[in-house]
Each structure stands twice: as structure tokens, then as C-alpha cells.
């Protein structure tokens, strides 16, 4: 764990696995914390005010370390059952994606639905989940020319991630299918359906 400064209220924590720290923050939600943003290999913590930054650093340093220099606490979250997301695998890019990888569409669907995905972080737009767990054989670079409009509900892949577009937006990921589950609703008590740490299982339909 390495702690870097990000402005006068922020600390950027570098970790191999961010999940245990995300779980610890979600559980404790300390008063000094205004916001936190998990990334691929970091978690950014923002204090309510400059004067709380030292307290925030001490809190981070006091989290007991386990093997691999990782804070504990991720286990509780992992025991929650995964969220089942029904997907119609008819994405515009799916035939091309399968061809690029050198497998059939059916084999792609089999691979994508056979693993548990985990939301590593949200970004790009409210409620857009970056999910890890994609088998390495399915990793592809982003589209060279992003689409100006991707329909909300599109299930897509890029790099080591699967994602779901919560609303119509531009996008540079490969579209493999769509879901009718509502990823984002500002009026809901929990506006995002899938939050960092949530485990996801895609179900073909």
C-alpha cells in the first residue's frame, strides 16, 4: 500500500487489490470522509476538509495488514450472493468479437456467463460498472473509433473489463448484448444497481 497526495484534501492509495479497502471504507464510512473513488489499482479518498487529511492518513495506516500487504475485510462482501443480470446476447459487435477471438458466438456466451464478475469501480457515467473477471482470452482493445451513441442497457467489453451502459451515451466498447435491468435511477435509495465490490453473474436469455 502506497499513499500519494492528490491536492490538499485527497489521498490516492495504491493497492494490488482494491476490494478489501473498498469494503473497509463501505463498512466504516468514517465521518472525515467526503467521497471515495475506487480505480483499477487505486482508491482516491477525499476528506471533508483539509484539516482531516492527517486523520485520514492515520486511519488508512492503522488498517491491519494481512499477507500480501493487503487490508482485511473483503470477505464479508464476497459472501453476499452475486446479482444475476439477464442478458440477451445479440450485440452489434458480437459476431465480429467472436471472430477476432477465434471462437463461435455460442462459445463466447458460454465463457462470458460461466464466470463471476466483480464491480471494481464505477466511472465514465453515473452507475457505469467496470467489472473484472472477464476470461483473459476475451480481452480486446477498445474500438479505434468510438460510437457517438450507444443505447442504454448495452452490455459491452473492453480490455479486462465488462461494462453496462446505464443510459444512452457515446462509447468505445464492443457491444455484446443488452439487459433490461435498470442500472441507474437517481430517485432510488440506492441509485446504482451495481456498486464497487458487487459480484455479478450474467444469465443468457
Amino acid at each position: 500500500m502506497r499513499i500519494l497526495s492528490s491536492g490538499s484534501r485527497g489521498l490516492l492509495v495504491e493497492l494490488e487489490d482494491t476490494m478489501p479497502l473498498v469494503a473497509a471504507i463501505t463498512k466504516a464510512r468514517p465521518d472525515f470522509l467526503e467521497d471515495f473513488v475506487p480505480g483499477a489499482r487505486t482508491v482516491l479518498l477525499t476528506a471533508q476538509a483539509n484539516r482531516f487529511v492527517d486523520q485520514m492518513r492515520s486511519w488508512l495506516e492503522a488498517i491491519p495488514m494481512e499477507g500480501g500487504n493487503q487490508p482485511p475485510g473483503g470477505k464479508g462482501r464476497q459472501q453476499e450472493p452475486p446479482v444475476d443480470v439477464p442478458v440477451t446476447y445479440d450485440g452489434e459487435d458480437l459476431p465480429r468479437v467472436a471472430k477476432l477471438i477465434g471462437i463461435t458466438v455460442a462459445a463466447f456466451v458460454e465463457l462470458h456467463t460461466s464466470v463471476i464478475h466483480t464491480v471494481a469501480f464505477c466511472g465514465f457515467s453515473p452507475g457505469f460498472p467496470y467489472m473484472t473477471g472477464l476470461p483473459e482470452s476475451l480481452w480486446l482493445p477498445r474500438l479505434t473509433t468510438p460510437r457517438t451513441r450507444v443505447p442504454g442497457g448495452s452490455v459491452a467489453i473492453a480490455g479486462c473489463y465488462s461494462g453496462i451502459y446505464p443510459r444512452n451515451s457515446p462509447g468505445g466498447w464492443h457491444l455484446i448484448g443488452r439487459t433490461e435491468m435498470m442500472m441507474w435511477c437517481s430517485d432510488r435509495k440506492q441509485p446504482a444497481l451495481l456498486t464497487p465490490g458487487t459480484r455479478v453473474r450474467f444469465q443468457p436469455r
Binding site: G7, D35, V43, G127
Partner: protein
């Protein structure tokens, strides 16, 4: 009694409803948003006696003026970029409380001194909150829709939280906007931050509420490859592959894939937002 309101009557480049913005939802991908120049937004509210945080209009004071009609007797003030205010052909100036009679036609002019003008009404705008804020987030589309002709904005209950202020001292606009920075978190991805500190940068016309885009000496990377996406602080100076810095403002994305060389002090972000296209910005440690 009909509720008091204003009705927008002409199209502008950009006018939005703003307050202090959102917090507590960044981990879901929701940015802070809020007024780009918080100090001047706060001042506009203070001039009409509102509590801090009352919704006000943020008008990008470039191009056509913001024109609206008053329904009911109102009290208003503008802060931020300076410029004229005309009510029924009579001229006023910014940074003072002005009484607006029912039926008046109000024109807020574009500015020569800055980019954003704040228009606050006693009682505040009565606008709907999304995740604790009314603010229009132009990146995510959350919050109140940007203002277009025909839009009616109700004014809240008339109550004074502060005594009125008669005069506000105004600093003359600076030739060069100076922004204080803290290096990092990814300063070690660059050969040196010297270009940033040695030369002023020119404000590009591609600047907006998301970020202040600058043109000047590029920063040279010493670490190759891509940075895995990570959280971005307000005021972050992100450096894309062309080496030209972008200072992230209110509507910045919560995560980004380019290294952040340094972060501008939050107290200076209003000055950054108000820097006009073609003007100079310099960074100091």
C-alpha cells in the same frame, strides 16, 4: 397570489442552475458539479441575504445576453464576471442588490472581465434536487436541464438570512491568472514539472465547465504505457499524450486514464474557471 418566478425569453450559449454541488456519490460515478466559481456564487447569494447553498443561475457570459421577465416583485444581484444589468431600459451594474418590479424585462449582458456570472434572487430558485443538489452536471446530464427560452423558474420563499450588503470591493482583473498547485499524485510520470512553472499557458477555446484546456509548453512523460483508470480530484491537472495540461473544474469525470501532474488549490479554482479564452494562466508552487 401567483407564485413569483422568472421566465427566460432568449437563447444563450449556456446558462444552468447551480448550487454547491453533490458529494457522497463519487464511488458510483457521480461527479461534484456545482458552481464553477464557488466564491462568487456565494457572494451573489450573500448580496440578496440568502443562506449559502441557495440555487442560483450560472450564466456563461459570452455571446447573447441572458434575458428574462419577472413575475412578482423580486430582489436580485449578480456576482462573478462583471457587466451590465438592464431592467426596463434602465442600467445597473453587477455586485449590488437590485429591486425588480413585477413584469420587468431584465437583461444580463455578456462580460469582458470573466466567463461566468451568477444571478441570485432573494429566496433562491426553487429547483428540484437530484442526489442532494440542483446543479446541472453537463458531463453526466444529472440535475436541472440547462436554461432555454420559455423556461419558468419559480423563486423560493422570501427570507433574509443575512443583512444586505451595500458595496463590494472588486479587484481589477489580473493580466495573468496565477494558480497555486500541489505536485502529484503522478508527478513522477513526468521528466519535470518545470515547463508548468516556467511559462504561462494560454486558455484554449475548448475550455468549459469540465476543464480549462491550456496551450503552451508540453510536459514530457518519462513513464511509458497507460495509466489504469483512477480517481481524479477537483483541480487536477491531467496531462493527455499531447502533453498539454487540462485543469479539471466542476463537471470533471470522477475517473481518468491520464496521469495527473499536480492539483490546483481549491481556493484558486474560481479564478481558473473565470480565465477568458486567449488569456494567460501561470502556475506557482
Amino acid at each position: 397570489m401567483t407564485p413569483r418566478s422568472i421566465i427566460i425569453t432568449a437563447a444563450v450559449m449556456q446558462a444552468t442552475v447551480q448550487d454547491r454541488g453533490r458529494s457522497g456519490y463519487a464511488h458510483l460515478g457521480v461527479g461534484g458539479s456545482g458552481a464553477v466559481d464557488l466564491r462568487q456564487y456565494q457572494l451573489a447569494n450573500r448580496l440578496v441575504g440568502n443562506a449559502d447553498g441557495a440555487p442560483a443561475i450560472e450564466y456563461l457570459a459570452v455571446g447573447p445576453p441572458l434575458v428574462f421577465e419577472a413575475r412578482g416583485n423580486l430582489s436580485m444581484a449578480t456576482a462573478g464576471a462583471t457587466g451590465g444589468v438592464t431592467i426596463n431600459e434602465r442600467s445597473y451594474w453587477s455586485h449590488q442588490e437590485i429591486a425588480v418590479a413585477d413584469g420587468s424585462r431584465v437583461r444580463i449582458d455578456a462580460s469582458m472581465s470573466g466567463m461566468y456570472r451568477y444571478i441570485a434572487f432573494r429566496g433562491g430558485l426553487a429547483a428540484a434536487q437530484t442526489l442532494g443538489s440542483v446543479s446541472t452536471d453537463l458531463l453526466s446530464g444529472l440535475g436541472e436541464a440547462p436554461l432555454t427560452p420559455g423556461r419558468r423558474l419559480p423563486i423560493g420563499q422570501d427570507q433574509r438570512h443575512y443583512r444586505p450588503v451595500d458595496t463590494v470591493p472588486l479587484a481589477a482583473p489580473r493580466e495573468i491568472v496565477r494558480l497555486q498547485i500541489t505536485p502529484g499524485p503522478r508527478d513522477d510520470w513526468f521528466e519535470s514539472l518545470k515547463p508548468l512553472l516556467d511559462h504561462p499557458y494560454i486558455v484554449s477555446e475548448r475550455s468549459n465547465r469540465i476543464g480549462l484546456r491550456l496551450v503552451g509548453p508540453p510536459l514530457k512523460r518519462c513513464v511509458g504505457g497507460e495509466l489504469p483508470s483512477e480517481g481524479i480530484s477537483a483541480g487536477a491537472i491531467q496531462v493527455p499524450p499531447d502533453g498539454l495540461p487540462i485543469v479539471f473544474l466542476a463537471d470533471h469525470p470522477v475517473t481518468g486514464g491520464y496521469p495527473v501532474a499536480a492539483v490546483v488549490e481549491e481556493g484558486d479554482l474560481g479564478f481558473a474557471a473565470q480565465a477568458r479564452i486567449g488569456h494567460l494562466v501561470s502556475f506557482v508552487l
